[in-house]
């Protein structure tokens, strides 16, 4: 699904965010991306969503080199990637329904189809019946779930999450992870960036670890990483 080959990213200030990173997230796989803050997790996600472009190396999605995706086609690429952010990036003056419907409106779905899909997405994240609420009326965990609903509402083949549990207590965090597992079970590839090692230690998924811009050891499980 996602393949990084010898990818480096140097910001214009000279700051080296990623150095010679190699990794491969397989089709339908769920994996974690860990490392201390500043290790390059966010940069790696930005390279996938073409918010930033790699300085060197090759980033491919589904076998397509995204260096070949021109600025005009970036929006279409992003429609196939569901993105979830730590600060959830919701529009505070729009209702929950409008927030979740945004990707569908952009893609040009009919109104009836939008209602159906938004209802389905809300149901999946356990917020059914809160369409008319404004995000400000919801708790932190609920807001995060609205962000997740928006990311999955157009059924993207790939889901990226940047610290999705950063502001949540352990119980809510586990709920969110279960949600990702459910999407993964239905065939979506999932990559979750988090520094919450305690959370992922108990899970069976592959873990990619970044340290100062380099990928450590390749494919090590979180449990192993924890024992060191």
């Amino acid at each position: 699904m996602i393949q990084f080959e010898q990818v480096s990213k140097v910001y214009s200030g000279g700051q080296k965010a990623l150095m010679d990173v190699n990794f491969h997230l397989r089709q339908g796989e769920m994996a974690f991306l860990t490392g201390h803050s500043g290790a390059g997790k966010s940069t790696l996600l930005k390279l996938i969503t073409v918010i930033e472009r790699a300085t060197a190396g090759k980033v491919s999605i589904n076998g397509h080199n995204i260096a070949n995706v021109g600025p005009k086609h970036v929006p279409y690429l992003r429609r196939n990637i569901g993105m979830i952010f730590q600060n959830h990036h919701l529009l505070m003056d729009k209702t929950v329904f409008d927030n979740i419907a945004l990707p569908l409106v952009i893609e040009g779905f009919t109104h009836g189809e939008i209602r159906k899909r938004v209802a389905g997405a809300l149901d999946m994240v356990g917020l059914y019946g809160k369409e008319r609420h404004l995000p400000i009326m919801l708790s932190g965990g609920e807001q995060q779930r609205v962000g997740i609903a928006r990311a999955i509402v157009n059924k993207p083949p790939l889901l990226l999450a940047d610290e999705p549990t950063g502001n949540l207590d352990p119980k809510l965090s586990m709920d969110i992870l279960r949600l990702f597992e459910a999407f993964n079970d239905s065939g979506t590839s999932v990559l979750i960036a988090t520094h919450d090692l305690g959370l992922i230690a108990r899970m069976k998924y592959r873990t990619f670890t970044l340290r100062e811009g380099r990928m450590l050891g390749g494919e090590r499980s979180a449990a192993e990483e924890n024992m060191r």
Partner: protein
């Protein structure tokens, strides 16, 4: 190996996308109208500025139009006076008259004989007594020629005058159109001034709309970032702003039209009085319906242009980070 689906293709069929394209246009157009209602104070201020800015060039257009109307009625009043050589017989004058009448440049001819001229002079000048001391009538016979419409312009009338002066019976001719030429030069100056002022005001309209749209973009910065993150194209993001610009233009244009009508209604009485003094019965003409349509179309184009320039410049700079 099966072909991998393109990562940039849409999930919707082409026909559905085309239909939805138009539906989105209508929706975004309407919602940007609604957006204006949501901030009524700033919207009304902007529209008022546009209305006033547009009303000035429109008022000048009304001025030029009416001035042209008036001078056109004066244009045809150009007359050529031909003074006949003394000592020409009545017969030769009559033959001259019939020859001139045959010119296709000539609309009509009036003959004033020496006797008639003397009579008129005595009656109007107040020197009648003095004239009676003279042995002979000092006044020449005069032929007044009105050029046909095609030759009533200053240059046309001048051409005709040269032609008429070639006749042997004619001593000299006089064309009293200098004032007309000056008036026309003045009108030309007025028209150019109007154009220059109009161009400046049009520029002001574009700048005002551009700045208003810039503020709207800045206000919705986070929304634009999120839209870009979830895959909105530039066209999709900029469309509501372009519609907002067009709405500003449309409403500003209608406001300008209202202002002009009030202005004309206010000036009509005074102007009718002034024109009455000049013996003219022209009434001032406001903007016609087709001119209203043109004004609104122009204004909406300016609105679109202002917001397009603003959107081009500012939308690109907003990128998710």
């Amino acid at each position: 190996m099966s072909k991998k689906p393109s990562i940039t293709q849409s999930k919707l069929p082409l026909s559905g996308r085309i239909v939805m394209f138009f539906i989105r246009h209508v929706q975004q157009g309407m919602s940007s109208m609604g957006e204006l209602w949501r901030n009524p104070v700033s919207s009304i201020m902007t529209m008022a500025v546009l209305g006033v800015s547009l009303s000035l060039p429109a008022a000048l257009q009304v001025l030029v139009k009416n001035a042209e109307n008036i001078t056109q009625s004066w244009n045809s009043a150009a007359e050529i006076s031909l003074f006949i050589n003394k000592g020409r017989s009545e017969q030769s004058i009559q033959s001259l008259l019939s020859r001139i009448k045959a010119f296709r440049e000539v609309e009509s001819v009036t003959y004033i004989s020496r006797e008639q001229a003397l009579e008129e002079f005595q009656r109007l000048s107040g020197f009648g007594e003095a004239l009676s001391y003279l042995d002979e009538n000092p006044l020449p016979a005069v032929v007044t020629v009105t050029p046909s419409l095609k030759y009533s312009s200053p240059t046309g009338a001048r051409e005709l005058l040269v032609k008429l002066e070639r006749e042997s019976e004619v001593d000299f001719g006089r064309l009293d159109i200098e004032w007309l030429e000056r008036l026309q030069a003045l009108l030309k100056l007025l028209e150019k001034t109007v154009l220059a002022i109009a161009a400046l005001l049009v520029l002001a309209v574009v700048l005002v709309i551009g700045n208003t749209i810039r503020l709207a973009i800045m206000n919705r910065r986070t929304e634009i970032e999120v839209m870009k993150l979830v895959g909105a194209t530039e066209a999709f993001i900029q469309r509501p702003f372009l519609y907002t610009g067009i709405w500003y233009g449309v409403i500003g244009g209608i406001l300008a039209w209202l202002i002009i009508n009030v202005l004309v209604w206010y000036l009509d009485g005074a102007l009718a009085e002034l024109l009455g003094l000049y013996g003219s019965e022209l009434t001032i003409q406001a903007l016609t319906f087709s001119e209203l349509i043109k004004l609104v179309l122009l204004a909406s184009f300016l609105g679109w242009l202002g917001s397009y320039l603003s959107v081009r410049q500012h939308l690109r700079s907003i990128e998710p980070s």
